[in-house]
Subunit: 388 residues, 2 copies
């Protein structure tokens, strides 16, 4: 599963990004375009206060066909009532007019401040002529959907003769179901929409739904996949493996670039009574502020790890059976701290990645979750992030 050195839009796909005036500078508007109708599937936030693009998107995706995705940053179009729905529809209509495609085959996303109306005229003006600026470089468009991300993210890999490319953004308000996260995936493999839907859900379950930056669930999260079929059919097992790998690698990139993050935090729970409990405990570990600050401080604080497992009060835990490893060093077993080289572990924890492994010794449930450390940077970004 080797990633391309440089991501590229698959054959038949292209994209463009521009500044339409929502932000003072930097791109704030993006279009991803397929030359032909593409099979499509999507998953959206489970937040009960979804944005207008999500409300419309759930309906649009039902037909399983997309030609384009349009997305803006700066304003999220959430908590905006009927005007918000109208504006989201106008975004799709503007793309449809510009590319001469059906409006019902355009999915839209908005990310940024909540409870403010979009400056829709600026978006409509920005979309005019954008079809002449199309590029094969996914980063050209991905910059347009960045909010507090520090760099645009795109990955490509091969599936037989086909290519799969994933782009994403999301730096805060990130917790499964989904993250504040916009992720778009493009492939020239030929796959029917229902199969695509199933494959996407499988991949999201172990990647983006196991990603949490701050337990907060965005109202706008959207993950879409489009398959234009230009490369013909591919082996479905291979496809699933590649899609899951791409989503997992993107989840790690998003966690690592989360607001204020200095390192990736990975928790691996094994031997839980069942998978559901393993998932709950793995998430408890990456979500615990005390584990997150421990990662930041590069301290092998066993107590916080035990606490974060034990706080899953509805899960089965037998302290006597628990084994804990921090960055592969055994630190706890048989109800006692192991005598390990703390200074050596601190050096390991000072790196780019903190991995906490918990073996529960009860069953076969296992799960891996992705998060990041919690730093002053998160506080500063979010205390200063004005809603107006």
């Amino acid at each position: 599963m080797e990633l391309h050195k440089k991501a590229i839009m698959p054959p038949g796909f292209s994209c463009a990004g521009t500044n339409c005036g929502l932000k003072a500078d930097g791109k704030d508007l993006a279009v991803f375009y397929s030359e032909t109708p593409a099979s499509a599937a999507a998953v959206f936030t489970r937040n009960k206060f979804p944005g207008a693009p999500v409300i419309l998107g759930r309906n649009i995706i039902k037909k399983g066909v997309l030609r384009a995705i349009v997305a803006n940053s700066k304003i999220s179009n959430v908590g905006t009532g009927q005007t918000g729905l109208d504006n989201a529809a106008r975004m799709a209509a503007a793309v449809a007019a510009e590319f001469d495609i059906p409006a019902e085959q355009v999915l839209m996303s908005s990310t940024g401040v909540i409870a403010r109306q979009l400056e829709i005229e600026k978006i409509e003006a920005g979309l005019q002529g954008i079809s002449s600026q199309l590029s094969k470089d996914p980063l050209a468009a991905t910059e347009g959907i960045m909010t507090t991300d520090t760099y645009p993210k795109a990955l490509s890999l091969d599936i037989g003769d086909a290519v799969l490319t994933i782009v994403g953004k999301g730096a805060g308000m990130i917790e499964p179901n989904m993250a504040t996260m916009l992720v778009y995936i493009f492939t020239d493999a030929e796959i029917a929409a229902p199969v695509l839907d199933h494959a996407l859900r499988q991949a999201v379950a172990v990647s983006f739904n196991m990603l949490s930056v701050d337990t907060d669930t965005s109202t706008s999260d959207t993950c879409v996949i489009m398959a234009n079929g230009l490369a013909g059919p591919v082996d479905l097992k291979h496809f699933q493996k590649a899609l899951t790998h791409a989503c997992t690698e993107m989840a790690k990139l998003l966690a690592r670039d989360a607001e204020g993050a200095t390192k990736l935090l990975i928790s691996k729970v094994k031997g839980a009574s069942d998978e559901k409990q393993a998932i709950q405990m793995a998430k408890s570990l990456v979500n615990s502020p005390l584990v997150k600050t421990m990662a930041y401080g590069a301290d092998p604080n066993i107590g916080r790890v035990l606490m974060a497992i034990g706080k899953c009060v509805d899960c089965d835990v037998d302290p006597a059976r628990i084994t804990i490893r921090i960055n592969a060093t055994l630190v706890y077993q048989n109800l006692a701290r192991v005598d390990f080289d703390e200074d050596a572990v601190r050096v390991l924890l000072g790196g780019e990645q903190v991995v906490i492994e918990a073996e529960l010794g009860l069953g076969s449930g296992r799960a891996t979750a992705f998060g990041c450390d919690l730093t002053e940077g998160y506080i500063q970004e979010n205390a200063a992030y004005y809603s107006s």
Copy 2:
């Protein structure tokens, strides 16, 4: 329900605190003593990795009678196996010997670093002669159980002819069921142990179990009440009201003095489908890092409030019926942001307290939760807090 200007131990109760050498300086050991056998009840952490004092305490409290509580800070005696259990029993035995009371009537607590053994000899030496240092000032002992708290906390109020005094500590790893929290309550009212137990659970449900600093649940939380009966019987309704009030005021003090906190954060949810959903949403609001940093930044960020309600994906939410108030200012209703004076609200939010009220418009479920803002101070304290 007027609080005394200065807290005092009720008649028949006294306490002492000392430095026994666990900490380099400051008190690290405390004893609370009743001259006569007192009815007693307690609630403990629900964390599945409870400390040795909690494991023993659950058994001790079954008889409903206590003469003393002993507590140390610096080391929590959690994750310490059989040695930990032996050491916890030795703490009680040392108090029993010093005061000539039954060891099974001594409850013990330990708070501090997890997965390290107590230096039990220091504690035993520190307890020798402590019976000659007894004081009526609850702060004399409460200092001995502080960890990252910035000041010792004690409140007293009258219940008819009786007095009720509550002392508490807890500054991080605080979330219901319970908080990293040691709270001891003393009264000279005459109340049987089963009645006391019921009253304590009622009070804790709406106070400490609605308190969350960081969603992390300590392995050592303990809340104990002792009633020595010296003042005779009291009106039980009055007693319940006073106990609940004392616990609620202490919960607010703990939240306000949480690690790094600069202000108290209170969420009030009304009109939820039922009380359980109201509790979930109220806690979601005080636990959301984005709401907490918004409180710190004194920004009326409506979007984050909507997000934190909507992320309760199993709760009933009808966006069209939601009304939001921030520090009593109406900011959102009828699916739209209200045109309010943002500068005025920012001034209000710059004070000591942020109050978020959400009216769901669905039913009669209501709940209030207590938390605090999230600041660089929390990060600094917890990233620097070494486990060794």
